[in-house]
């Protein structure tokens, strides 16, 4: 039942090769390649509208690129769909919470599809991200930062080895920012992989990889 026990073999590897995406008339991603290894974090940054979110969605498998491919442990994610998805947790720009369910229920139904998680575990995850007190409030009434924290708790509770996070620092107060950094560090310590979009420099007390998208 310990988080560390569920962590991946050190061989885990995410690669993306020469990703091309057009949106409308715009060639948004022009041959982006990247690689994330076990225990490493890739910080994705660049001006607004350069395609960071688009790239993350391609990597999550939500968007099929016009060219190029994404591989997990050497196999294209389309083929190894189930393994890939159970090893991955994605947090988008929006918190992706059902407004009418409580924070806890949101976690239960989202995490429950990937692994059996007891209620105490879920509550602990919410506690960890600082929204234990909101566990039984409907997501509708939560503040922007609280929603973001619940989304982070969902990532945490999924115990995935690959984290794909789209601006996890947005809307968070200073303690929230520190919290996300700490969670990321612990995740990397466990041998996890992370791909994080953020507009400011990440200070994690360890070396990280950086990839800049330019307009």
């Amino acid at each position: 039942m310990n988080g560390a026990a569920k962590m991946p073999e050190p061989a885990a590897l995410l690669t993306a090769e020469k990703i091309h995406v057009w949106r409308g008339e715009r060639h948004v991603l022009r041959g982006v390649s990247l690689k994330v290894e076990s225990g490493r974090l890739l910080h994705l940054f660049g001006p607004n509208g350069t395609g960071k979110t688009t790239l993350l969605r391609v990597i999550a498998g939500l968007l099929r690129p016009e060219q190029g491919r994404v591989c997990w442990d050497g196999r294209p994610i389309g083929e190894a769909r189930e393994q890939y998805q159970s090893a991955m947790a994605y947090a988008s720009h929006e918190a992706a919470l059902k407004a009418d369910l409580t924070a806890l229920e949101n976690l239960r139904y989202a995490v429950g599809m990937k692994r059996r998680a007891s209620e105490t575990e879920l509550r602990a995850a919410l506690e960890e991200t600082g929204v234990g007190g909101c566990a039984d409030l409907p997501a509708r009434v939560l503040s922007a930062g609280q929603k973001r924290r619940v989304a982070m708790a969902r990532v945490l509770a999924m115990r995935a080895s690959l984290w794909l996070l789209d601006e996890p620092y947005a809307n968070l107060d200073t303690s929230g920012g520190a919290l996300v950094s700490r969670l990321l560090e612990e995740h990397l310590d466990r041998g996890g992989l992370a791909l994080v979009i953020a507009h400011h420099a990440l200070e994690l007390g360890r070396s990280i990889d950086r990839l800049e998208l330019s307009p």
Binding site: K6, A60, G61, L62, L63, R64, R81, E82, Q85, S86, M88, Y90, S92, E94, A95, A96, L97, K98, A99, D100, L101, E105, Y109, A110, G112, M113, K114, R115, R116, P138
Partner: protein, 226 residues
């Protein structure tokens, strides 16, 4: 520790139930609609019972069809808008299973409720009690088939800008046979004639869609979600 398909499906069904009871309007909406359509009709006619009885099967079935259709629009839409559908598709569970679970939940929450309520409406429409079994059976089969057809339509149209119109355009032609056979079964039962033929046909249609539609709906969803 990983979650089996059946377990995941039951989780989805429970989620839908919880949501529905948290938002009773989604639950009541089709029923209220059904009630209202059937109440309004007699009002707009001169109050002759014979005319009413002639129309009753038509009113009943059209109302059932429409109220089913209305609730189908929201089958995937809410989830698509708040981003939870993305989370569901990334949940390492087969999309078909998710679609099946969601559709079953939808039928339990709209179709089944509608069938249970139909005797009340039927009484108000002066349908004789003797015709109730046929009516109930045909409505149950019909709404279930319709939920499956609707799932295909909803899958194809979620996220599309012209979603709702397309949904009606896609589903209604498919639903036409349902309406004709369902109404005629009820009609014959009211007239005291045998309606087994129409019922068998409805049952066959239902089995047919139940086996094929989940795959079609999942494929449709995959196409639109890309």
């Amino acid at each position: 520790m990983s979650v089996g398909v059946l377990e995941a499906m039951s989780l989805v069904v429970r989620r839908e139930m919880r949501l529905a009871f948290r938002r009773p309007d989604q639950l009541l909406q089709p029923l209220v609609f059904f009630l209202i359509v059937t109440t309004l009709f007699p009002l707009s006619l001169s109050p002759e019972l014979s005319l009413l009885r002639d129309m009753a099967p038509g009113v009943l079935w059209v109302a059932a069809l429409l109220s089913s259709l209305l609730s189908l629009e929201t089958l995937f839409k809410g989830d698509a808008e708040d981003g939870t559908l993305e989370q569901l598709t990334l949940s390492a569970q087969p999309l078909v299973a998710i679609v099946i679970a969601k559709t079953i939940a939808h039928w339990l929450l709209s179709g089944a409720a509608l069938v249970l309520m139909s005797p009340l409406v039927a009484t108000a429409l002066a349908i004789p009690v003797g015709a109730f079994p046929t009516m109930l059976a045909s409505l149950a089969l019909g709404t279930l088939t319709l939920s499956w057809l609707g799932a295909i339509g909803a899958g194809l149209t979620v996220g599309l800008r012209r979603g709702s119109v397309l949904l009606s355009l896609i589903v209604l032609p498919l639903a036409m046979p349902l309406l004709i056979f369902g109404a005629s079964a009820t009609d014959r039962a009211i007239g005291g004639e045998g309606s087994a033929g129409a019922l068998y046909f409805l049952a066959a249609l239902c089995v047919f869609t139940c086996t094929l539609a989940p795959f079609a709906a999942a494929a449709a969803l995959r196409i639109t979600l890309e």
